[in-house]
């Protein structure tokens, strides 16, 4: 079978670099051990091999399509995948025992999802949405809501979705107008339009649970007046039957990629009979939703990394099999052609992909671990984990999606013209990947979140904690000797980032928010490169210990040397662009607020 991910890498990240076993000391996870964790991931791989990866291409060729009468046609395999994944706890596996879950750490559960994302990113979307929706209900819903909606979602019979975006508002959630009118019958009546609803009313499940943001009549303007509702497509009646709840799928969006994943336009309350059930308190909907949103942002980052990994694996395989051309030093045309992997430029393209994808996966795992640490600790320890997680969330989402697209472009490039044809998967992965920089807040939104919010919470404490984490890795790297120059390099980049923030803080002090945030995306690019350099240094430190202590099977030396090699590659080829971003950010020229749009013609 063609490779689409690397179990060797996953093992290395999970046990050696991020040490999943440190989580098992928490009460919540004390039922687990490393062996079990690995068996669970091997079962995920088997499921992906058998049910998901073989349908990667066919789901692209037979996209989820609106049927013209309120439903979305999907490939028959989707139903089987959802049911099998549910049966194997890949929807509810991270939930508590009391909610029917296996109480798995996110670090393990989401690593399993990463395998699915690499195998078939369209189908993993359905699973991930259900997981997030059920989590949200268990976090903020009533016991009755949990009892009603969570089990069928975990069983794969019902599909959870998140319904935020409206046609007129787009990313600006403060402008949503879907309205909820209170009744005295225990529910609200909702009316409104939601677009871009992923996983919307397809034919692979019996029912849908739309977690919907709406404005209760009379609520304050802006985000302070948004409430969260459960709106099922069919309400479960006391007698067990399902009653149509006036949630109509009015159409779908056909897309460049992720074509197996339905994207729908939902219309609530066309017949004034759409019943919605308030989750938690009124007007706190956006805060609740952000639990799901933050999880989704990490998941999108991880998905981008996983899809880029699949493209990398496909291109690596091709380069190891395809003879073509000769080395520049070989002028004799009668000599047989060399494998293209021997060409320096092909190696550069492969190593760039490896550098981007492996570190992105590592960063996603770092985030998943932090999530588990937040939920396993309390007090200041917890607060610190949470701050670190908060600052890393927009970074993993953005770096993995933006650089992942670049990585997939290189995967196409290594295959030459073949890479552009539908005979090979890399072009599909390239198309699929492009959505990742748009989902759950575009790159621009993530960058505003990073520079406008995360950098400044608690007087910059999140930045301080991040720098402290990076310093700890640098200290370990310095102690290895071999890696010391790279620790120094990273230190220089961190200092440079500090200077950039100092430079920008002038605008902050002047309360000139528009200017302060104008180049947030450039700051994001710089921060992303630095954080990824840190991940590589971390991976290299572990590899260096393994090599020094001969703590590996003989045939694995190249694997560990490869980690150090790729770290060096990243520092040589990628990291200099962080400095270029700093130059842009410190440039005094102001380009915001083009008043005269004619300039753009």
């Amino acid at each position: 079978m063609a490779r689409y991910t690397s179990m060797e890498l996953i093992r290395y990240l999970l046990f050696d670099v991020h040490q999943v076993e440190t989580l098992f000391k928490y009460k919540k996870f004390e039922h687990l051990d490393s062996e079990q964790a690995w068996m669970i991931l091997e079962s995920a791989k088997l499921l992906a091999d058998q049910e998901m990866f073989p349908y990667f291409k066919v789901l692209d060729e037979t996209p989820a399509t609106y049927d013209g009468k309120g439903g979305v046609k999907t490939h028959p395999q989707l139903k089987k995948i959802i049911q099998t994944a549910a049966a194997q706890s890949w929807i509810g596996g991270a939930a508590k025992f009391e909610h029917g879950g296996m109480q798995l750490p996110e670090m393990i559960f989401n690593t399993g999802q990463s395998i699915f994302q690499a195998a078939n990113n369209s189908v993993q979307g359905y699973l991930g949405l259900s997981t997030g929706s059920a989590d949200l209900i268990t976090s903020f819903g009533s016991q009755a809501q949990i009892d009603t909606y969570v089990p069928p979602i975990y069983e794969g019979r019902w599909q959870g979705t998140m319904a935020l975006t409206e046609p007129q508002a787009g990313s600006s959630l403060s402008d949503i107008i879907t309205s909820a009118q209170e009744t005295d019958r225990g529910y609200y009546l909702v009316k409104g339009q939601k677009i871009f609803i992923s996983g919307g009313q397809h034919e692979a499940v019996e029912n849908f649970v739309h977690l919907t943001l709406a404005r209760i009549e009379g609520a304050p303007a802006g985000i302070k007046g948004i409430s969260l509702f459960i709106i099922p497509k069919f309400t479960p009646e006391p007698d067990g039957t399902l009653r149509y709840n006036d949630v109509y799928c009015a159409g779908d969006f056909q897309k460049m990629g992720q074509r197996g994943y339905s994207t729908t336009h939902l219309s609530f309350g066309d017949n004034d009979d759409c019943r919605a059930f308030l989750v938690g308190e009124p007007h706190k909907g956006l805060a609740y939703m952000f639990q799901m949103m933050n999880g989704a942002r990490i998941s999108v980052g991880q998905c981008a990394a996983s899809v880029a990994m699949a493209a990398y694996q496909a291109s690596l395989q091709y380069c190891l099999e395809r003879p073509q051309g000769r080395m520049a030093s070989e002028k004799d045309p009668s000599k047989p052609p060399t494998l293209i992997i021997n060409h320096a430029d092909v190696q550069r393209m492969l190593l760039t992909q490896k550098a981007i994808t492996e570190a992105s996966l590592s960063l996603a795992m770092e985030c998943n671990k932090l999530y588990d640490q937040v939920h396993g600790t309390s007090g200041e320890e917890r607060d610190n984990y949470l701050l670190l997680l908060e600052i890393l969330t927009p970074i993993v989402k953005t770096y993995a999606s933006e650089q992942g697209s670049r990585s997939a472009a290189l995967a196409i490039q290594t295959l030459g013209g073949y890479g552009f044809t539908t005979d090979f998967p890399v072009q599909q992965l390239y198309r699929d990947l492009k959505i990742m920089s748009l989902y759950e807040g575009t790159t621009g939104i993530q960058s505003l979140d990073l520079l406008g919010r995360k950098v400044n919470i608690h007087n910059g404490k999140a930045v301080k904690l991040l720098v402290a984490s990076m310093n700890a890795t640098m200290k370990e790297a310095t102690e290895t000797g071999r890696l010391s120059p790279y620790a120094n390099r990273l230190g220089i980049e961190i200092q440079r980032m500090g200077k950039v923030l100092e430079h920008l803080s002038v605008y902050l002090l002047k309360s000139d928010m528009d200017r302060y945030l104008a180049d947030a995306t450039v700051f994001m690019e710089m921060a992303g490169h630095i954080v990824i350099a840190w991940q590589w240094l971390k991976m290299a430190v572990v590899a260096s210990h393994k090599i020094k202590n001969s703590d590996f099977q003989t045939n694995h030396l190249a694997f560990y040397e490869g980690k150090i090699h790729t770290m060096e590659f990243f520092f040589k080829y990628e990291l200099p662009h962080a400095e270029a971003c700093a130059k842009t950010l410190e440039d005094q020229l102001t380009l915001t607020n083009i008043k005269d749009f004619d300039m753009l013609y």
Copy 2:
């Protein structure tokens, strides 16, 4: 109608920046004047508006597809487009009067093609291939060959193609094995397989003229044994009838983009009766073919720029119409949303696109002008123009295609989720664009050509001429006063490039070609940024003179200010990455020749 290109920009580039009228002093072009030139381009725009742009989406949705029996089905509009374009001289317009052309400068003819490329890049491909094929025959073919094949191609009845690539050889032309056996009947008998033949045997024309590389039996190995043949699908018999020539279309390639453009697998001589007509002398085929190839490389660069321009125009239009969100400084949610073009990050995305696409088009025009200058002059003057053209060819091809893809990604990004849907053209343009970094030599091949060949021809004379051209622009910029700091900046980057070449020359002196060329693509990226900075400075100098002399209609001030503005933007946001590339290139760490491939897992 939606905008897909900018006639204002084209007028500015053609007349103000690159001064097409300087060509009219050459004998070949003395029948033309500026007014005529503009009328010709306006007619191209009309043709594109009426016959090409309206079919952009439908050709993607009904791709050229193999019919299972030797032909390729295409959309009916294609035939109309080819015939109308031919009738309006858009296949043979640049040919000499004696060959039935209008003797237009490439600068005008290809600017017309650029409008077609922006409107519908799939259909322009068919036209461009025919033009290049007929040019090749008129350059190196016999009078009889010219008389037989050129008129029907210019009339749009026959389609020209270039048949180079073979399955086992890919980019390595020295390994082609298609064989040609001489007969005593005035032709050769050819046998072999060619893949990725664009514009291959579709149903919109009567006949095909495949310009094919093959090896005459007994020829030397490698590129010195390759000959060029005309192989028609049907040979024209003396009585005017067409005789099937054993050229079978064995299948096609379905692609991620440019789906309206057929990509075929051709099989020559399955029945041992495929007659091929030698062009010029034996074994000189590759040198001949490079005339067409070089033209095609400039054309691909121009096409990438034009497609990215279409994406830019679509995203600009969207940003001027879409209200969403508020400025960072505006906290009141009851205020109406602002147009997204007022957001700094959206302006950054638009200006990045503008910076990439306009300068890429300018560079393509610079190349087309050099082509005309080569053909209008003689002696040292001609040689110098040719050297400049030779060094710029791989740069325009690569910068425009690589950065054009990034530009189109930003076009998607400005539309948010809508950009990913088939409701908007930007995703199609993004898909179409990806082929440009593969066509006619991948980015890796272009980079080897630049650093391995072009940089070193005549002891670096091409580099010296390029630097002299850039210095001339810098001098003009310095004289304006206002632009002087940017002239200095460009000077610093040029010096840096010189140092990098000095650094790399050590390997060249040691004849370590593999190491010298290992990072050729990084050098290409640096050189591309510097050359584009030069184009921007050139455009800014002209704009500055226009502003100073009030040489414009009142409402055009913003247009000229916009040029200076975008130049400043490029220098702030893009140019720092040239220095990052230099850092990589001067880094001593060697990463080539990974002997242990396990490192890559």
